[in-house]
Amino acid sequence: MCESVQVMKCCPETPVEISWSERKLFLVGNPNVGKSVLFNALTGAYTTVSNYPGTSVEISRGECELHGVRYEVLDTPGMYSLLPITEEERVARDILLQERPDVVLHVIDARNIERMLPMTLQLIESGLPLILVINIMDEAERLGLKFDLPLLEEKLGIPVVGAAVRRKRGLKEIRAAIVGFDPQQRAAFSYAADLERDISRVASCLTGAYAIDPRALSLLLLQRDESLSEMVRKVEGDNYAAVEGAVNEIVFERRVDLHLRISLERKRICKGVLEGAFSQSEEQSPSWGDRLSALTMNPWTGFPLLLAVLYFGLYQFVGHFGAGTIVDFLEGHLFGAYINPWVIALSDKYLTWPWLYELMVGEYGIITLGVRYAVAIVLPIVGTFFIAFSMIEDSGYFPRLAMLVDRIFKRIGLNGRAVIPIVLGFGCDTMATIVTRTLETRRERVIATLLLALAIPCSAQLGVILGLLSAAPGALLVWSLCLLGIFLLIGFLSARLVPGERPMFYMEIPPLRMPQPRNVLVKTLTRMQWYFMEIFPLFIIASVLLVVGKLTGVLAWLVSLLEPVMHLLGLPSEVAAAFIFGFFRRDFGAAGLYDLQTNGLLNPVQLTVAAVTLTLFVPCVAQFLVMKKERGWRTSVGIFVIVTLLAFTVGFGLNRLLLLTGILA
């Protein structure tokens, strides 16, 4: 078959004439829905894999013959929506819009039809010649899901085929649907009246000829699809100003919730489409996962569950087991009883230069302090933290936490999306500060950076402090309440003082599942390996600097500078060293506090005040440098000053309060 069509390229000056001798059959859909299996089933062994021109994205092409008609079959990269985010999605979208397919097979996972149908709607809206393949039907039926495919076909206005291509089920029907495909057939869906009005307003401004329906194009323009905007600019020429004006006006009017509205409208339409065409067997009551999922997001049950996760995951596992049992064994037994005495005895014999002796096994020696802190204190704590973190992460709990805290976070100028940097901050505040760039507005980014620098302890600091405070009844509760109170208070004040927009938050919630041991193990070991490789040299360098500081008198001078502040906080002057350590790295400072406590230098009140002040105290050097890189000098220095003043003010106030009330006495 030979035909010739006009295809609008992405950035064309004029339409390009392309001719081909066979029909084009494209496969699209989310990753991991069975596209490649279907591609192989249709094309057999004769396939080629090559980079899509001008990109590094690989595309599989093959051929098949159906009822005497040859088809070029193309397996597009996985995509979640017609609005591209990754290069793969952009390529998949460009292929669909530029190469004018004769048939598009949209492959979806029957088990997740509610989540995947919105993209079917987008493809139908675009005017693409679509066949819907509902794959993995066997698994869906096992889960008690039932589909009325003829009704679904009627409602969508396109052919719908149920399949389990891995088991070769439905292949005959898919081939028959391709052969008998009628591209004229498709349904139209309406959004809410106000949205329809906006869509029509943009669509009426479009005068060029496009490979995509003007309504779908208008929706993508309203969602700020930059590559399509560029294409429209070239096609429209002088008329583009009118299109841009209409888009800008609507986007400004709906700046708070445009994406959310479109998403919710599509969900509503999908719900209507699936009504009567999709059901779950009555014998199949919601799974425990579904029930638990709902409980984690309900404020009445979600917060108690969050406390349970914190209690068992952090307090018991990291605080007691990691910072208690394992550190006691490694630090107290292995290093205290064997390694340190042996190294010191060797050094007594062979290291005759006092400075070298001090450098290796002195008070701040490389082995007695640097290696001991890194291996015996920080690593086991971070290791147990990463196990707990990876388990929670793999279960799918974090997105639910984002939904749960969304309302509270809105009060502090953030929204549920900020859960990502805040949660990551409990791993490492420096990287979390970088992740704040994913927040939508500058206002959110500044507030999140401030809260990370102030009230979010990193994993090692958190672990050491949990371990330390677990021993003093009530101390951990006071520390937790202080941190939570400061987090909320400063967030609340920042939300009122920092100007800017307040964007909406919405996200698709992935299924809750049992953590998979292999995933947990790989992620934990990987995180531990990289963490150790990163901290070990830094701890050694910090030891060397401290020894140099001690030998030159600089350390004593710095400690003397901080001494009056320590006395104001009711702390012994030795704690000043932990604060100086803390500026090198947060975990180094916390480990210093651990040493002071094990040497019996702090009573419960002093321990709590020191832990609160050290947690709130200035971010470490790396975090400060990243803050400067991300937010600029002015903001980062401002945050530094605020955090330092707040840390000491809160420490001073807490000391007075605890002494006055006799709590923890």
Partner: protein, 58 residues
């Protein structure tokens, strides 16, 4: 690679973004959909646990 937060598939060639503080390059991959920071699996552990070469489930 599947994102640990949103469970969307991160394309294999997603550029790694890092703060530049780690010697030998960044070992984190940021999900392009939600921004979550995922650890780049260590080849050693992947190999030990038999994940490398495991057929992609489709």
């Amino acid at each position: 690679m599947i994102c640990g937060f949103c469970r969307k598939e991160i394309p294999a060639k997603t550029p790694e973004q890092g703060c530049g503080r780690c010697g030998g390059g960044c070992r984190k991959v940021h999900c392009p959909y939600c921004g979550y920071e995922n650890p780049l699996p260590s080849p050693l552990f992947e190999k030990l646990l038999g994940q490398k070469g495991k057929k992609k489930q489709e």
